[in-house]
Symmetry: C2
Subunit: 401 residues, 2 copies
Amino acid sequence: MARKPNIVILGAGYAGMITATRLNKELDANEANVTLVNKHDYHYQTTWLHEPAAGTLHPEKTRMKISDVLNMSKVNFVQDEVVEVKREEKKVALKGKGDIDYDYLVIGLGAVPETFGVPGVFEHAFSKWTVDGVRQIKDHIEYQFAKYNNEEEPDDSSLTFIVAGAGFTGIEFIGELSERVPELCQEYDIPRNKVKMYVIEAAPTALPGFDPELVEYGMNLLENRGVEFKINTPISEVTSEGVVLKSGEEIKAGTVVWATGVRGNPVIEKSGFEAMRGRVKVEKDLRAPEHDDVFIIGDCALIINEEINRPYPPTAQIAMQQAAVVAKNLKALIKDDALHEFTPEIKGTVASLGGKEAIGVVGNKKLYGNSANFMKKMIDNRYLFLLGGPALVLKKGKNPF
Amino acid sequence: MARKPNIVILGAGYAGMITATRLNKELDANEANVTLVNKHDYHYQTTWLHEPAAGTLHPEKTRMKISDVLNMSKVNFVQDEVVEVKREEKKVALKGKGDIDYDYLVIGLGAVPETFGVPGVFEHAFSKWTVDGVRQIKDHIEYQFAKYNNEEEPDDSSLTFIVAGAGFTGIEFIGELSERVPELCQEYDIPRNKVKMYVIEAAPTALPGFDPELVEYGMNLLENRGVEFKINTPISEVTSEGVVLKSGEEIKAGTVVWATGVRGNPVIEKSGFEAMRGRVKVEKDLRAPEHDDVFIIGDCALIINEEINRPYPPTAQIAMQQAAVVAKNLKALIKDDALHEFTPEIKGTVASLGGKEAIGVVGNKKLYGNSANFMKKMIDNRYLFLLGGPALVLKKGKNPF
């Protein structure tokens, strides 16, 4: 009998988790060794993080222990940080545990914040959309409120909140925050008019690529909650006092949240893959060019939408679809079958706006308010169902009613 | 008919609230105008504040709107800050609303932190035992935990907590905090051994004046939860990095909570009353010496315990007893009757240690653990009962079972 091949999956995000789950179904235990490497022993829902960041959902709701979700008799889990992929040697260098060998590698390492070279982001803004990161955003926000009434001469800018970026993350975050601000004002005895919220976006529109009618609906709704939009307004620097705009104008703020988008994981470039902003333009079968044994999916993969000749945005939806194809292709490689091509199927996109509000497109249908909110929650629950069946939906799911 | 006298009560703490409540019972509406002046429109339970400070009780549980508790048809409530008592003119200068006249004045303005001249307390330590102040302590503590895992190279001293002072406030606060630390560690994924807690006390014992056997019980219990005591250890400075001890040793800490005791309100000295640490040695009838029209009670009043020739500590228990006597004496003044003398009656003293633990003396009986905890909660509820009857106990009370 031939040696069982080692399949190594890097990262336990949407891409890695669904790959592992699907592999368990595609392959028998005697057909391959499956190893999953992740920094933490938990998986979390990146697309939900705007909620715990604003304090409208407990962070525990967004994460789950990997061992509670995956069948640990079929997956070897290694908790460690990936340093580099040694492609020639077919090894992955880990920070703590040294090198591990692979026959087939799946890179699903996720993204890091994109600063576009703006100085001061890492020093003065909150940019980490992780469980650790959003807990800090939430507690920082609450501390701004708690501090205010204790100051001899309160500085009103400490209650100014700037969100840099009007993409999905920025809009969904300000949606939650604007919904929570009245509660925070009441909790901490702060007059509502002391709190200011800005969304600053360099591009000529909020939610670029989204239906303009829905964007307008969303912006109006957020403006009615007191959010001020500055569109077409590049930021030139983040400082300890707030942001400086390209126009020279300075906006003082106690909190700057950075949500201008992401780039692929630095491990990609460090490992010598040809990449644009950390993302590798993968083949139709999702392998890295000139690599028969390395699949790259999720935030580190670049796939062009040929209809508009622009990359698909890195979404959970696409990552999960890629993971399903990769699981099939790993099976095909082992069985020496033909590989499948990946075609994204965009079923819909819904952005929540806090409270019971959302906007979205599902199929050709535009959705607003309650019905969009319902769809958003159903989408969130569908993922849990794919990952862990009805038990996981009951445990961590959202009630859409 | 003679002009109705103006009775003005300054401060809505234990002293002022009970004075107002009792006056409502002692006097008819046509016998006097009663005015209560307070900075906030709410009353709060100073003796409970160690709980919201550590985050083991919601701060709303410790406060109540004055208008929800007092009969506002019998009390004229003025929300303002007291600047000074103009004794000669029989006026009180308010920050916002100018002067108000009194015929009889009750000063129950409470206390401010005592620094004993240690530099850096107000700049670098948390010293405000108020609703605003403890919300900031709680949110600061949580932020220390939230920040830790996001640092490239976490500084362990950010998870060191120093409590300066092993009196009632310091011990009760560290009791709550030490009870909560394991929860915080779990919530924020922090190994328990990263967290350090110190109680630093200049005096030769914790809880001076308390039964030594109970003190030992309490210290052992807290040490078992990881608290390190440094007794007989004066602090010479608080810095942005922690504290410097008189020995020269430095202890780095992300949080220093100041609880070394209090002094009387600065308004006392500003108004020209003869005082020691802001406290006026009042007459037996609780009037200020040489003032027929000014009562001083609560934290601004100094009364000597002649048995040991030392002042009684400023407690809620004594403030409430004083308030009852002052209400009677105001009636006596108006009716031209003889005034009553005040004699403190110490019914018992219980210090909570967090969770279901406490130590105390009630009558001649020493209490530990559950039974002391039961007594503590009964004492807390008894005050609510005196203030607002059974409805207030049900709304804001503590379940001792």
